[in-house]
Symmetry: C2
Subunit: 363 residues, 2 copies
């Protein structure tokens, strides 16, 4: 009868090794096999000094024959850093976010960190759920493309040391590092470009008004129109979902009616694509400038306001790691320039319009 003097609260029989990680060897197993102490294995695995070449060889052999791989979960628990960062974006399938995510990944890789992405699908609840799940995993930092407008839920996390950077849209109700494109300036320049080519009735089709960039771009549109002394009709403005049906009917609405527009400004890449399709079916040649560059837009001759998605991601990630490396100061706000790329569609003149005397301003 062994084990008479068990401690008062003996746990049940320990679960067999087979229940965990499908029976993975641990450092203890490696140590036993190599005939050394546990800590020596740890030293070898982490390339720490103080191990004789001979011992190291024995340990390496044991590692290989057992197929050991360090359990980073345990390591994280002990060290307090996970070497991973989280990225919450809208939709990884959107060609705008792919390059952004990739740029973040490259910076993370340079800092030895892995990237966990999640798509919010433009749903604030899902954004919060994702961001908090990443915090529970103890990511070292968080890059968020906001879907919602209230990020106070992140305050405890930030206070607890999770570096946080917002990209593409500003944070709501908290003060934090932010990297944006100049939506306002870009849209203003694009609309001014159309005006310079003789257009007076210009339509604006944008994303939902709860999205910051949509509002900013609309503001750019209004400013350009006002600067040119043009009055804007409500019929020329349409904000809402970027679903193809919605955009298509908006385009058709603006082109019919008593006072049809002669040019369109598309608020983002989704809108541009659908607008181009809608216009392709029309016999009238309508001018178009779109926000965001699109692949093959060069061949289709679509004039765009290009923003650099990769630069957004890279800049945000660099700021994040600056914080992780100890930079603490006031929140930083960066706005990246946009570039107008004339390719033809934005240089179409209105019906009956005469050639313009001045060269259009191209930024």
């Amino acid at each position: 009868m062994a084990n008479t003097d068990r401690s008062p609260h003996t746990p049940g029989r320990p679960r067999g090794r087979e229940a965990r990680y499908g029976n993975r060897p641990t450092m203890k197993d490696v140590a036993a096999r190599a005939g050394v102490g546990l800590k020596t294995v740890s030293r070898v695995v982490n390339s720490e000094p103080g191990v004789t070449p001979d011992t190291e060889r024995r340990v390496q052999e044991a590692i290989e024959s057992l197929g050991f791989r360090r359990n980073d979960s345990a390591r994280v628990l002990r060290k307090g850093r996970t070497a991973s960062i989280g990225l919450v974006l809208e939709d990884l399938a959107d060609p705008f976010y792919g390059p952004l995510s990739r740029a973040v990944e490259e910076v993370a890789r340079a800092h030895g960190a892995l990237l966990i992405n999640g798509s919010s699908a433009e749903d604030p609840d899902r954004e919060q759920e994702l961001a908090l799940a990443l915090c529970a995993r103890r990511v070292d930092g968080l890059i968020v493309i906001p879907a919602g407008h209230d990020h106070r839920y992140l305050e405890p996390e930030i206070k607890a040391g999770v570096a946080t950077v917002f990209v593409d849209r500003p944070a709501g109700r908290i003060d934090a590092d932010t990297v944006l494109s100049d939506s306002f300036g870009g849209a203003r320049a694009g609309v001014a470009h159309l005006i310079a080519h003789g257009h007076r009735r210009i339509g604006f089709i944008g994303d939902q008004p709860r999205i910051h960039t949509a509002v900013e771009r609309l503001r750019g549109y209004r400013t350009a129109m006002r600067d040119a002394g043009l009055t804007v009709s409500d019929d020329w403005i349409s904000l809402g979902s970027t679903a193809p049906e919605r955009v298509r009917s908006a385009v058709e609405g603006m082109l019919s009616g008593p006072e049809p527009v002669t040019a369109l400004f598309a608020g983002n890449n989704r809108v541009t694509v659908t607008a181009v399709r809608a216009l392709a079916g029309s016999e009238r040649r309508t001018a178009l400038v779109g926000f965001d560059d699109i692949e093959l837009a060069d061949l289709l001759g679509i004039t765009v306001i290009a923003q650099d998605a990769a630069a957004l991601g890279r800049t945000a990630a660099e700021q994040l790691f600056r914080r992780l490396d100890g930079a603490n100061g006031e929140p930083v706000r960066v706005a990246l320039e946009t570039v107008l790329i004339p390719r033809g569609s934005g240089e179409i003149r209105p019906p009956g319009g005469r050639p313009d005397p001045v060269t259009p301003p191209v930024r």
Copy 2:
């Protein structure tokens, strides 16, 4: 003189709380604050039964006032499952992989798991480094789009219980679940389509020959040509990098020379894009069919062999979770159908070619 009876190996003074996770409260802190035991907090956090409403309320209050969030690293260590899966792909910025990744994410989400992606940049070493890093994080499963041809390095991991599925390209030297598109069949159908429209001299421009899909598509091309009784000249085939310069010069080479091709088959989306650009500058109308659909290809009238990237990702992820749910049996191999979408560029007839008597086969 306190602490006379310290244990023999007294560790140094414990690091202050501030050094870890930036001073985060733990369940112990919550328990102290709520005046309950540690385990009771755990029960509340995990919604386990057996807690009085009153106790639960006290604990909840303590959680909120402290801003507590469960440390999933510790949880993982204890439970042995991370509820996360890894995806190793080539380049998240490629419009083919964005939707694939997103589809995987959606399936993971439905199973309560997070997704960690990494880009291999088509480098076998980097693929291995990434995959093993993910294994060290103890992801429950791994989806790999192989860059290399030898995946024996994953054997210990798979044996240890990491469910693994290969997508888009088969695994090398190991037997594992695989989800592919029918590259061979798709390419054969595309080339047959060109032949049916009267072409006899057809060029093939593909990716590097070490990539499985590139080879399969070339095989499809050769088979279609042979089936039609056509001899293929070496000058009509070009495999290599998808860098624009390389592809452009391949196109130019095939169109000049004594025996210029009258049609091109482009081996993937990157090649198609560059080929379209190159052909746009030529006055000759050259027929083109591309593998992979591209955004706006409809407007440009590009005939393609479309594969469904999202379906690839979804199918692979579903198979992965089937394994994680206990399915064990022989490795499964799935090949997804491709679809030929005629849009004009593939229906251009060769110079001097007469209308074809038979309807072209469209799959």
